[in-house]
């Protein structure tokens, strides 16, 4: 087992945006790396267009939830959730935030995932674009906050998942790449 990796990530968005899917991919990446993993998800009523929040903890944890100011990283699929869930982030954590050119997000690294999704004509892929962007953002973070997995790791998870569904796989990889290579504005 890799030496004492301990990482806590918060993924936040709205119902229907695919928050759970992103959480799932990251958790599977942890498993592929033989790391213990814990996630906590929103189900039921809130999934109908409400606020969806998931917690992901990689390493030696017993509780599935993250306390305020403890998250190493934040993935925000909808800008308005920054105000809601920004408090989870620790002072030197990183945040990958979906925001367009007009919206200024004070903390974190913005990426216009909505526009990129239109550009690659895959409007539902905002989640993967933000994930791609988060992988890039975390690469640049201070060494203590680097993500437990890399761009390549997530690509391999996607390949395992969509092995036989070639079209889905291509579209997903494309979205992930669009986020990973998005220029920071």
């Amino acid at each position: 087992m890799a030496e004492s990796i301990k990482q806590q990530l918060v993924i936040s968005g709205l119902g229907g945006q695919g928050v759970l899917f992103v959480t799932r991919l990251l958790a599977e990446a942890a498993i592929e790396k033989q790391l213990p993993v814990f996630t906590s998800e929103t189900h039921g009523m809130a999934q109908r267009g409400g606020v969806v929040l998931s917690h992901l903890k990689v390493g030696d944890f017993t509780s599935p939830l993250i306390r305020p100011f403890q998250a190493d990283g934040l993935l925000v699929l909808k800008l308005e959730n920054m105000a809601r869930h920004g408090f989870f982030l620790k002072p030197d954590g990183w945040a990958a935030v979906n925001a367009n050119a007009d919206q200024q997000s004070k903390i974190g690294a913005p990426v216009d995932a909505d526009r990129l999704a239109q550009k690659i004509s895959n409007p539902k892929a905002v989640n993967l674009i933000v994930l791609g962007w988060a992988l890039k953002t975390a690469e640049r973070a201070s060494s203590g906050n680097r993500l437990f997995c890399s761009y390549e790791d997530i690509k391999s998870v996607l390949k395992n998942r969509f092995g036989s569904q070639k079209k889905m796989l291509r579209a997903s990889l494309k979205a992930l790449e669009a986020g990973y290579n998005a220029k920071e504005k």
Binding site: G16, A27, I31, V37, H43, R48, P68, F87, K124
Partner: protein, 606 residues
């Protein structure tokens, strides 16, 4: 050959069931328990296990079927959410007296918060009332383990055993090593014993005595006894914790560097609490803190008002979920450490809303047109969200839409002005608890309209089949029960079918029903159109009408207020107010064409 797999808590519970030879699993869907049965059916298919899995019409029926299974010597299980256990409480209380033959596990998932429920009730209290043992897992992994323990206790002491996971266990995912699934070669053998299985009140007293004996023995059973998690710690203060609160407590005590200072016990079986442990505890410690969800079940059994702190002493909040930050605050207070209070920002919430294109929205719009000043009783399901549209006035519990409509009718029937009453209920909920209420309304000639929102699935909990679907938990073909015939069979004379997407016709139909009900008694309209999410899941497509908003839109906001399709975006610009349609969300149901009073929604040219 262990394989590590990421499992949802509910899948881990299902895995525990099949790994322990469960031969019959039944359920009625309800968040946070819904995925348990689906996962059992999945493992069954994947491993070709010979067993019975099914969605039952309601929790009571699910319970009784699985209970009969254990009477024949098989290991069986029933799963439901906590309010479902209310529905199944009748057989639960009685089954506790009669006991079991094969192992029987009752899984009742609680929802502190509540995140997706009407109440925060504690199923462990139901276990106490029924006098059966209850296990309280802290994680998916432990939930899986505890299924084995539950069967062991159940068969050793011949009693049903409850497993009480909470939302944070059900809906966490954890990496878990899969174990082998044993060959199921138990003999099915119902041994007749009417003195027990059909006991009359006289024998029930005897059974009750036996039950007390069982409980006393279970309170001495080693395998489920409290576990000391940090044997090194010494002191006169001690913390007891159970369920997911114990998982938070462990992590927080380490973070606060209290791990070697305050002894911590995890209670795995909150009821009956081990007697010897209680005696030792009260003797050895001056200060005892109990952290548990949601009621003070462990605390109550400590029966000491001076040294025990918890829910009863109001040290631990009696309502709401025990989030890790709350647990931290409680432990800091107990250990005399400083705690930095933190209030998360109050950002105006996004209220949940029906999906874009949801047929319920169209039904509600029509109902409000047809009975504008009516009383609208409703029920449990996605359509509860009709309250955003002002088309839902009451939500009590499963099936109550119909009985409450009856109650409102009786309350008003001698008044000069009688409001129209329109009840809405989903197809699955109608089967669950609506049918007896409808029969009652027919007998009493109650004057109201019932709209059955028939979207052909149990949508809210993730699209489980209904009795009208004709398919089983594993997708196998079954018989389908036709709602229309059922309604007519209940004695309803006015029962008509409509498509809510055809707003005008459908509104006229509801009006007709209202007029009929005023004179004659209950009238039923079946509003039939499939759930759009379910269609999406199955790869089906409904009608697609490309809609856009014409320049005539003056931003009056009528559609936003009365229709609230999430695909409609309101623009409040300086020079102009108007509405547009979000192409990402719009599914082209075309219903909004009928909604705007000015006719500003139009079909896109070409």
């Amino acid at each position: 050959m262990t394989e590590r797999r990421l499992l949802l808590g509910n899948e881990a519970i299902a895995r525990g069931l099949v790994e322990n030879g469960c031969a019959m699993a039944t359920s009625y869907p309800g968040t946070p328990a819904s995925e348990i049965l689906a996962a059992v059916a999945f493992f069954q298919k994947q491993n070709r296990i010979s067993m019975h899995t099914q969605w039952a019409v309601n929790e009571k029926i699910a319970f009784e079927i699985a209970y009969a299974g254990c009477q024949t010597g098989l290991r069986t299980a029933v799963s439901m959410k906590q309010v479902g256990l209310n529905v199944a409480s009748d057989p639960l209380m009685s089954a506790a007296y009669m006991g079991v033959n094969g192992g029987f596990v009752v899984i009742s998932a609680d929802d502190p918060g509540p995140h997706s429920s009407q109440t925060e009730q504690d199923s462990r209290m139901m276990a106490m009332m029924a006098k059966i043992p209850v296990l309280d897992p802290d994680s998916p992994e432990q939930a899986r383990e505890m299924i084995g323990l539950a069967y062991e206790i159940s068969e050793k002491y011949k009693t049903p055993v409850m497993l009480r996971p909470t939302t944070r266990v059900c809906h966490s995912r954890q990496d878990i090593d899969l174990r082998a699934i044993p060959e199921n070669n138990r003999e099915v053998n119902f041994e007749k014993n009417p003195a027990r299985w059909a006991a009359t009140p006289k024998f029930r007293l005897q059974l009750h005595k036996e039950l007390e004996g069982k409980l006393a023995a279970i309170a001495r059973y080693r395998a489920s006894a409290p576990v000391r998690l940090n044997p090194g710690a010494k002191g006169k203060k001690v913390i007891l914790s159970s369920g997911v609160a114990a998982a938070h407590t462990r992590e927080i005590m380490k973070a606060l560097k209290l791990w070697s200072k305050i002894p911590l016990y995890q209670i795995r079986q909150p009821f009956p609490l081990h007697r010897e442990f209680v005696t030792r505890l009260l003797k050895n410690y001056d200060d005892i803190l109990v952290i548990e969800e949601t009621t003070g079940v462990i605390e109550m059994q400590l029966a000491d008002r001076y040294h025990v702190k918890g829910k009863l002493s109001q040290t631990v909040s009696r309502v709401g979920e025990l989030s890790p930050e709350k647990v931290e605050e409680i432990i800091c207070g107990f250990a005399g450490l400083e705690f930095r209070q933190f209030e998360p920002p109050a950002v105006p919430g996004r209220r949940p809303t029906l999906c874009a294109g949801c047929p319920h929205r169209a039904s509600f719009f029509a109902i409000k047109k047809a009975a504008p000043r009516g009383i609208y009783t409703s029920d449990i399901g996605c359509y509860t969200l009709g309250l955003n549209l002002g088309a839902v006035d009451t939500v009590l519990c499963m099936g109550a839409a119909i009985s409450q409509a009856s109650g409102f009718y009786h309350a008003y029937k001698n008044e000069k002005k009688r409001p129209d009453v329109v009840a809405t209920i989903g197809d699955s909920t109608f089967f669950h608890a609506g049918v007896p209420a409808l029969i009652d309304a027919v007998v009493q000639k109650n004057k109201f309209v019932l709209v059955i929102l028939d979207n052909r699935t149990t949508a809210m909990t993730g699209s489980q089949p209904t009795p009208a679907s004709g398919i089983g938990a594993g997708g196998e073909p079954l018989n389908a029960v036709d709602i229309e015939s059922l309604v007519k069979g209940c004695g309803v004379k006015f029962c008509k079918l409509g498509n809510p997407y055809k707003v005008k016709e459908f509104t006229a139909l509801v009006k007709e029903a209202v007029a009929y009900s005023r004179k004659h008694g209950p009238a039923v309209v079946i509003s039939r159109y499939p759930c759009v999410i379910d269609m999406l899941r199955k790869g089906e497509t409904g009608q697609y009408i490309p809609v856009e908003v014409a320049d005539t839109c003056d931003g009056c906001g009528y559609c936003i207020q009365h229709f609230e399709c999430p695909a409609l975006i309101y623009h409040d610009d300086e020079d102009r107010k108007y509405v547009t349609i979000d192409p990402l969300l719009c599914i082209g149901c075309g219903v909004c064409l009928e909604v705007c009073p000015k006719g500003s929604f139009v079909i896109k040219k070409n």
